[in-house]
Symmetry: C2
Subunit: 107 residues, 2 copies
């Protein structure tokens, strides 16, 4: 039996999520597009599964910013990086903020 | 009678306020401190009246970012620049966003 190795990459604990870092992460239109897409999906999504008008390396950069800010949880599964939105952590830390931003985006 | 000349400096109209620009403006701790202070004051405030741990030129820069994003309205009165928070415009454009951010800061 083959077991895929799963590791979680560095990201802040819930209590260390910083407001400025979250707002900065969400201030970029491409990153906000990614966050809205993640919010609409039930499953963890590979980094390459988002239709964003940027290069692969720029996309990787955006995911790193989102991860380091605590907006997105990223785990490696084999060669893939799977992403989920840290909705519960964000809601616990800054109640209402994520929804206010996503509502503002949806306008 | 001396009449002070009052002019309003360039800032976006309500409908042109951009979400990314607002989030970027609020993502800096000093700017967020200024916004929270403005929110607590009833009157328009001179730029120099905020106790922030930055140089005068950095403070001027922060106010420019806030003004250009549409977060703050700035008008000149004689040699002073008077600032007010554009709460009504922000609330109309992105309902709940400013309060969610200020609550998160106060958190």
């Amino acid at each position: 039996m083959t077991v895929l190795q799963t590791t979680t990459t560095d990201q802040p604990a819930r209590e260390d999520i910083d407001l400025g870092a979250v707002l900065h992460a969400l201030s970029d239109p491409t990153r906000l597009e990614i966050v809205a897409a993640l919010d609409s999906r039930a499953e963890a999504c590979p980094t390459g599964s988002f239709e964003v008008p940027v290069s692969k390396s720029t996309c990787t950069h955006h995911f790193r910013v989102l991860r380091e800010a605590g907006v997105v949880r990223q785990r490696r599964e084999g060669t893939a990086r799977l992403n989920t939105l840290r909705r519960d952590d964000l809601e616990a830390r800054f109640p209402g903020l994520l929804d206010a931003v996503l509502d503002a985006k949806a306008g």
